[in-house]
Symmetry: C2
């Protein structure tokens, strides 16, 4: 069955994706997004309550660029009991001049996982307090592991502490990280985690706050990754009242359904309090003003990241082909 365009499987995609190139592409995407150079309608979410599943669809393009992408990412949380991974997904790439399909990236959700980890690493670097050398990971899943690995590498962290609602899963994640040559331990409580580190990444599917404001030390930077759709929450909203810098990947998304939305609804901030992570990365806004303040970055995931990933894969594929000639 000839398709008229290339279909890349995960096996094809992995060798094309270098973490440092992904991080650069995601940084560029966040900056261009902050500068209004992207076109991206609000993301679509489809819920499957009976199957404990959801599906996020994001689409967009960079003005003047060649490709637009439609990214479909699924998360079905009962899949492990069927022997299937929670996450799956595909990205379809089209030509912005003709609408013609250009490629199908059958990445099984990994492009989304990587661009999310890359954004986490960039956000961590943008707000980490001086001298932070221990990373706190709240959550024990697939994305928690990726965040730990990417941030440890990107910020050269010495040590990782892990906490999750399941102690067994926290131990398993710490072991998995140690097996990768990192120094990681599970801790028994969120309070203990907060006491050990001033750089915390939350990546749980929680529907209520798991990080108590009182436990958070002065000078802590929190990157909130988990709340990417209505109903999800990881931080006590009062933490926003303590924060001197609140950065977001996208203003509308974060104020609508990100971690920030809960604080907005409780009137602990106003919309104009948030700055764009892309502006911080571009040096047009500050990520941190002093060593002892609390800062928060709220990531919901934006279409610009997905377009950047798809474009990166296609460019690298093209380079390989040119080299093979």
């Amino acid at each position: 069955m000839a398709t008229g365009f290339p279909i890349l499987t995960l096996e094809d995609i992995v060798p094309l994706c270098d973490p440092s190139e992904i991080t650069k592409a995601v940084q560029d995407a966040l900056i261009r997004h902050a500068q209004g150079k992207t076109v991206s309608p609000p993301p679509v979410q489809l819920e499957f309550p009976e199957a404990q599943g959801d599906c996020h669809i994001k689409t967009g393009y960079f003005r003047g660029d060649r490709y637009f992408a439609v990214k479909v990412a699924t998360g079905f949380y009962a899949n492990p009991s069927r022997g299937l991974p929670v996450n799956d997904g595909v990205t379809m790439v089209f030509d912005t001049h003709t609408g013609t399909p250009v490629a199908l990236l059958r990445d099984a959700g990994w492009l989304t996982s990587w661009r999310t980890a890359a954004a986490g690493a960039l956000a961590a670097a943008a707000g980490a307090p001086p001298g932070a050398c221990t990373l706190g990971i709240v959550g024990t899943g697939h994305q928690a592991q990726l965040q730990a690995e990417w941030i440890a590498e990107h910020l050269n962290m010495e040590r990782i502490v892990v906490w999750g609602r399941s102690a067994d899963r926290a131990e398993a994640l710490a072991s998995a990280l140690c097996a990768k040559g990192l120094t990681a331990v599970a801790v028994a409580s969120i309070q203990e985690l907060c006491a050990e580190t001033r750089l915390i990444v939350t990546c749980t599917p929680s529907a209520s706050a798991v990080v108590p404001t009182q436990a958070v030390q002065a000078g802590t930077h929190i990157v909130a990754v988990g709340a990417d759709s209505p109903g999800k929450q990881e931080l006590e909203p009062s933490l926003f009242a303590r924060a001197s810098v609140i950065a977001v990947d996208d203003r509308e998304q974060c104020l609508h359904h990100g971690e920030t939305s809960h604080a907005l609804r409780e009137r602990l901030l106003v919309a104009s309090d948030v700055v764009l992570l892309g502006d911080i990365l571009a040096g047009r806004a500050k990520g941190r003003l002093s060593a002892d303040e609390v800062t928060i970055t709220d990531l919901t995931g934006i279409a610009a990241q997905d377009v950047a990933m798809a474009s990166l894969v296609l460019e690298k594929m093209q380079c390989r082909r040119d080299l093979d000639r």
Copy 2:
């Protein structure tokens, strides 16, 4: 490059798609949608002003069914000058229990074209005045031709009159229809078209009204297909004030960006004036009350149709495979 799921090209799909089965599937989809048995977030539209292009993304599923679909349909109106068709598109099908991709339908936009033509035929039948035997087609493009063919077949019309802003293209469409064994003529003006028929289908990409209210005869049924996104319009809004039945494929979409939206904005109707085409098809609402009233059906295209098309293709594919064993 193994993909792990079937990719069907247009060549694979065409033999699986019988017009009467498509019409039945679309009728069922419209009825289930009217009965609240579908889950479908609002459609997404991406605009490409420099390329005169747009992209519609629709997604959804029938509660309890096996598949959900993400349908991407593009229309790039400068493509013919590049030797490319205006329309293209793909449909991705996923499992509602696991989120796993099930198939990619590389249908080049034809599934959208067919389901739109099928809805037009169903809408025409649901409101046509008694004894209508001449069909009026406003528009000269790809969808205009399909509407003419499908309605002529479904309602056994004797004659088709065609009008478009380009007289040459109207002649070309009439010739193309004659070549298919139909009786068709181009007429010189929209007034002439309205005088010749009381069953009119509009399918243009117009941004302003092309059908004057005064020209429309008593007893006319109009199916408005063209206005499927903000900024498009084919009818003078005052026609809605004359209409005794206003049917829509989807209440929110039609009131937001269908033909009906213009009349709503001009306060020529209120939201509760519209009935669902699916309710008419199910016999739960009337499509016409008397022979001399004006009736309008506004079609914007709904995700339920796309899911129904994808499911039909997959079921037929499965049947073929079973037969081949």
